[in-house]
Amino acid sequence: MATITLDTVRKVYAGGVEAVKGVSIDIADGEFIVLVGPSGCGKSTLLRMIAGLEEISTGEIRIGEKVVNKVDPADRDIAMVFQNYALYPHMTVYNNLAYGLKNRGMAKDEIDRRVKEAARILEIGDYLDRKPRALSGGQRQRVAMGRAIVREPAAFLFDEPLSNLDAKLRVQMRVEIKRLQKSLKTTSVYVTHDQLEAMTLADRLVVLSGGNIEQIGAPIDVYDKPASTFVASFIGSPAMNLLKVRKGAAGLELETGSGLTAANPYGRDRYTLGVRPEHLSLVEAGVPAGALTLKATVNVLEPVGAESYLYASCGGTGQEIVIRVESHARFEPGQEITLTAQAKDVHFFDADTGRRVES
């Protein structure tokens, strides 16, 4: 168990691609950090630099007190779970788990104890004599987890470990990983592009975009106060509605047309205004008008079971917005609706930089 410190870490690949552009994160002992961002944002690169599989161009990585920039992956006291599991195909499950321990010169009975213990926790005891090819995807995933936990390392590194599983298994393993990490209290860094996985697993989220950190924070804080339009549209599903607005005669108005009324709390000329689908309510349903009201025309209704998503356009045909509505609600295409949101649920972002405006 250890802290992990990244100090202005940069990665420039041989071709000149700057995949990570000066990232600093302090990871506490036992913390579960999730690196999340769209494809190509540099999250795997960052994780692989912590693992020692990728050289660090500039900056410093410390595991515990030790600077590990030049330390061999095997000596960093980390264990990694790969997306495609990376099991050794010619070894039995038992040997897959034992391999890393044998190479560290551990005594046979201690190895046996640890392998059996991991097998018990992960319920893979019945397959210890099988080769990986004779296992299902979910079982392989467990073996890959087992290979990490037998090591009892200072940190676990996960690179999209669940993305090859089907939806149901993914949810199940997600819960299991969380439970396991909480009981082992091992510092973990987990990479995913799935915002739901990120939200549910993380103690703290690190949202990356184009090699930079957009925001670090507890999932609920990131959700409540996204630091930029990028984070706002990435975290939360369906994504936050973002509308271009400008100063009007009274408060703010849409840049593309009429229909919006909102106060202008910061006195600027232009904003990108954000409001989540779940924070928009229908005035028709008896909800009193809040800080923001918006007239819109219904396009389609998309039921997903527990709730439905209503797609509507506002400001002429300028913008499509999404509203979360109760699952049995009925709407006709072309129907006019009036929406409202509370002041605390309306986010303001700089119209040019996309950064959150709070003053």
Partner: protein, 293 residues
């Protein structure tokens, strides 16, 4: 594997027919002929033949000369197989470390194989040539009076070097694609699990290369036993005298130069048996240890 259903039951056999015909005409038929003539003493001028039973076999197996050629053939085969496999593997491992999947380089390296065999044989002989061979100068520098075709050891040395040289590109390409087929993440996982590169090679890379290595082992043994005929011929230039030759070359010498068709046939039959036993051995005992991904 996809299963294909033929509506007409005889169609698969029809499709197999050309291949079967080739095997029968060029393999079973001559083999049967060889077995038959190995029991006869043929008149060299074609005036009939006499049945002599096992005499050709007892003659061959009782001969000191045959025993010494057999010993050389074994040594030659083992040496050529071992050297061409291990050097090719070493080169492939080094190349693989540089390549990391760059297909341009890989294509370039493939050309070595396309060009090498004919050129290599010729170059090899020139390299060791008594008059123009540059190797002689190198050997002379170390005080080695190299005499190809005259000194038994020197000739054997040249044969092995040329045979190995010719086979390396072939093995190299197979090893290289075998190495490149090992998933990157498996290597990386092993880097986290094992600090020593040497140990990783033995415990992860080599076992994963085993199917390739096994295939190449059989190919290389067969190559050393039979396909080196041309090299032996070029090196000894028909004058076996006290030069080292392989069993296959002796079959040719006795049959076509010596006119002893019976004895030569008996030798071929013996070789056939050796290959048969060798193949069974390889599949039964070595292949068992091979992991197919």
């Amino acid at each position: 594997m996809k299963r294909v259903q033929f509506t007409n039951a005889s169609l698969p056999y029809l499709l197999l027919l050309p291949q079967l015909a080739i095997i029968v005409i060029f393999f079973y038929w001559p083999s049967a002929q060889a077995i038959q003539s190995s029991f006869y003493l043929e008149d060299p001028f074609g005036f009939g033949s006499t049945f002599v039973g096992m005499e050709n076999y007892t003659d061959v197996l009782g001969s000191n000369e045959y025993a010494s050629i057999a010993r050389f053939t074994i040594a030659f085969t083992l040496l050529v197989t071992f050297l061409s496999l291990s050097i090719a593997l070493l080169l492939a491992v080094k190349a693989d470390a540089v390549l990391k999947g760059s297909s341009t380089y890989k294509t370039l390296l493939m050309w070595v194989y396309a060009v090498a065999p004919p050129v290599a044989g010729l170059m090899g002989v020139m390299f060791f040539d008594m008059h123009i061979g540059p190797f002689l100068k190198v050997a002379a520098f170390f005080g080695w009076d190299f005499k190809i075709g005259l000194n038994y050891f020197d000739t054997a040395f040249a044969m092995v070097v040329i045979a190995v040289w010719k086979q390396i590109p072939y093995n190299f390409i197979f090893f290289l694609s075998g190495l490149q087929a090992i998933p990157k993440s498996v290597r990386e996982a092993s880097m986290i699990d094992c600090r020593s590169g040497f140990r990783r090679f033995w415990s992860i890379i080599l076992p994963l290369l085993a199917p390739t290595a096994f295939f190449l082992l059989i190919i290389n043994m067969t190559y050393s036993l039979f396909d080196t005929f041309g090299i032996v011929d070029v090196v000894v230039k028909d004058k076996a005298a006290n030069n080292p030759i392989t069993l296959v070359y002796k079959v040719y010498m006795d049959g076509f130069r010596g006119g002893d068709l019976g004895g030569s046939s008996a030798q071929s039959v013996i070789l056939m048996l050796v290959v048969f036993v060798l193949t069974i051995f390889q599949f039964r005992f070595i292949e068992r240890r091979v992991h197919y991904g």
